[in-house]
């Protein structure tokens, strides 16, 4: 198995996530796309750890998982509070602040 394939896979996942953030309307889905981007970065880190022959990348992936978990807690709290006020989780509906 050549590890380079995993780099390509990670790049594809990252792109899917980034495009998803830009085109999806539901805040939860947008947030899931951000998580996909973080996991693509994790896959890249682990693959480079394998290529470089060092463990650093794998340890970094653990840190990223913990940070991503903390981010879920904060993010879902914010999305829940806005959903309870507006009865909608669409990012297009949150449009009071402009100009």
């Amino acid at each position: 198995m050549t590890p380079e394939y995993y780099l390509v896979l990670a790049a594809v996942l990252f792109t899917i996530g980034a495009v998803g953030v830009l085109i999806r309307r539901n805040a939860i889905v947008v947030f899931m796309c951000v998580e996909l981007m973080l996991n693509a970065a994790n896959l890249t880190l682990v693959t480079f750890a394998r290529i470089n022959g060092s463990l650093d990348g794998q340890i970094m992936a653990f840190f990223v998982m913990v940070v991503a978990a903390a981010e879920v807690v904060v993010g879902l709290a914010i999305i829940m509070s806005i959903f309870r006020s507006r009865r909608s989780a669409s990012v297009d509906d949150a449009n009071l602040l402009k100009y």
Binding site: V64, V74, S85, A94
Partner: protein
């Protein structure tokens, strides 16, 4: 399996951050165990004690230069000075956060779980605000302190999230106009998480190039490596997106006006002063330590970003009709001036730090005064409502005029001395094009500030001109300190300039 060794840890060097993080954890316990009626006093004392103790230990450590925890943290002169800036500005911003005399119960909502405009929300309108805000502030400030002294990119990522996550929450905790506040929290969170994902992918690519994420190791591998530069360039570009987002540089600035407007004003002040200092501390460290030797690759891009930031920020500030949005665009333009310092590298580190101090004090006073202009619905931030305030409240208007003149860069204010120091060090670094754009854009930017001054003094008061509340002693102290710093740093800036120059630069070994 006994070959895992703990890297040596220099606890003395980490003490300022340990104090602030530790007392933030104590604050969470206090939230759970202290009876409700004593909670505010306990939390406010704890927060102020943590910030002051942190500042004292930073001052004690001032000559320290050490890399510790296996290279994860680099304590050096510039890093300690940035920590000091964040703590001092944090102490001043604490005055706004803890203020409870302007409005019953303070600027923050009592129970954020109530849906906006629901029955529960109406009942809690006069209840005392939540005290979670204090530990959240401490976590944010501690994260910013760590961000400025990170020795590797992973620590930097963790610190970035540690200070961002509490800020996302605090943006959504306004007592009034809760829908706006929640919306600003949602926008800041989604865009911030998006930007930090870019940052992380950049870290991963740089790890692939250099085999390490330590800033000094990256610098070394840039010199030695024979790998293709594509990984490095792509990684650096993605990394810069994450950092420039926090610094609010064009084209990553779109969140700034919305979040500054929607967030509770004390939190806006904290973001404008402390987060700016932390973001530029991180930018200066990354570019000065890890990527100094590749400056030929990134300098044209960051130069273009700096120019765009100065121009877009100052032109859009002209069109604003809300004082908080005006200050937000002015903070974008100021991010552009600070980027001039980043592009100029080594020689401009000191003057960038001076600029952060001067701007931080002025912006804290400005937002402090925004909290004072109120009507029955809370703060009146639309500029048309400010017309003719000078007739009824001459002292307030005089102080706001001083701050506006300071922002506009009139001589004898800190705005002039800091811009002069920054642009002259950029000129010495042969960045003449940036200096010219900077001076021209600050001429444009003077217009909206002077427009506010004219509005305050020369326009007739409208039918429903809001009143200027008599400030409590905390807001009074914040505004006083901010105005005083704006004048003192303009009239006699040399002592602080000596201090930033003797603080030294970033440790690159």
């Amino acid at each position: 399996m006994n070959d895992i060794q703990l890297p040596p840890i220099d606890y003395a060097a980490l003490l300022p951050m340990l104090i602030v993080f530790g007392l933030a954890c104590v604050g969470i316990l206090a939230e759970a165990f202290v009876p409700r009626k004593h909670r505010f006093a306990v939390q406010a004392t704890l927060t102020l004690a943590a910030l002051i103790a942190g500042l004292v230990t930073v001052i004690i450590n001032r000559d320290l230069e050490v890399t510790t925890i296996g290279g994860a943290v680099t304590i050096d002169g510039a890093g300690l000075f940035l920590q000091g800036i964040i703590l001092v500005l944090g102490i001043v911003a604490f005055g706004l956060i803890a203020e409870r005399r302007l409005e019953r119960g303070g600027a923050f909502v009592a129970n954020a779980a109530h849906a906006a405009d629901s029955d529960g929300d109406k009942k809690q309108l006069n209840e005392a605000g939540a005290t979670e805000i204090f530990p959240l502030t401490l976590f944010a400030i501690a994260g910013m302190m760590l961000f400025c002294v990170s020795g590797d990119l992973l620590t930097m990522f963790v610190a970035l999230e540690v200070f961002s996550l509490p800020l996302y929450l605090m943006c959504g905790l306004a007592r009034r106009r809760r829908l706006l506040s929640q919306e600003s929290a949602l926008k800041y969170f989604l865009l911030g998480a998006f930007a930090s994902a870019f940052f992380l992918y950049g870290v991963a690519l740089i790890y692939g190039y250099a085999g390490s994420v330590q800033l000094v190791a990256i610098k070394q591998s840039v010199l030695d490596s024979d790998k293709s530069g594509v990984l490095l360039a792509a990684g650096l570009a993605l990394l810069a997106i994450g950092l420039l987002f926090k610094a609010a540089a064009v084209p990553f600035h779109v969140w700034t006006p919305d979040v500054y407007q929607g967030a509770p004003t004390p939190i806006t002040a904290l973001m404008a002063a402390c987060v700016k200092a932390a973001a530029f501390g991180g930018l200066l460290r990354v570019f000065n330590v890890a990527f100094e030797t590749t400056s030929w690759d990134w300098r044209p891009v960051i130069t273009a970003v700096a120019m765009a930031t100065m121009i877009v920020g100052s032109i859009l500030a002209v069109t604003q009709t809300d004082i908080k949005r005006l200050l937000a665009y002015s903070s974008i333009a100021n991010a552009g001036y600070l980027l001039v310092g980043v592009v100029s590298l080594g020689g401009a580190v000191g003057s960038s730090m001076f600029y952060l101090v001067a701007y931080g004090f002025s912006v804290l006073a400005a937002f402090g005064m925004v909290t004072l202009v109120r009507d029955a619905d809370g703060e009146a931030t639309h500029l048309s409502r400010w017309a003719g305030l000078g007739k009824g409240s001459p002292l307030f208007s005089a102080m706001f005029t001083i701050i506006m003149l300071g922002f506009a860069g009139i001589p004898l204010t800190s705005g002039f001395s800091s811009k002069f120091a920054l642009f002259s060090s950029a000129w010495d670094a042969n960045q003449s094009a940036l200096v010219i754009v900077g001076v021209l854009s600050s001429v444009v930017l003077a217009f909206p500030y002077l427009k506010v001054v004219v509005l305050l003094w020369l326009n007739p008061p409208g039918d429903e001109t809001p009143t200027v509340s008599v400030p409590g002693y905390l807001t009074r102290a914040v505004v006083g300190v901010g105005v005083l710093a704006t004048i003192v740093l303009g009239v006699a800036p040399s002592w602080l300039l000596d201090m930033v120059n003797s603080a030294g630069t970033f440790l690159a070994k």
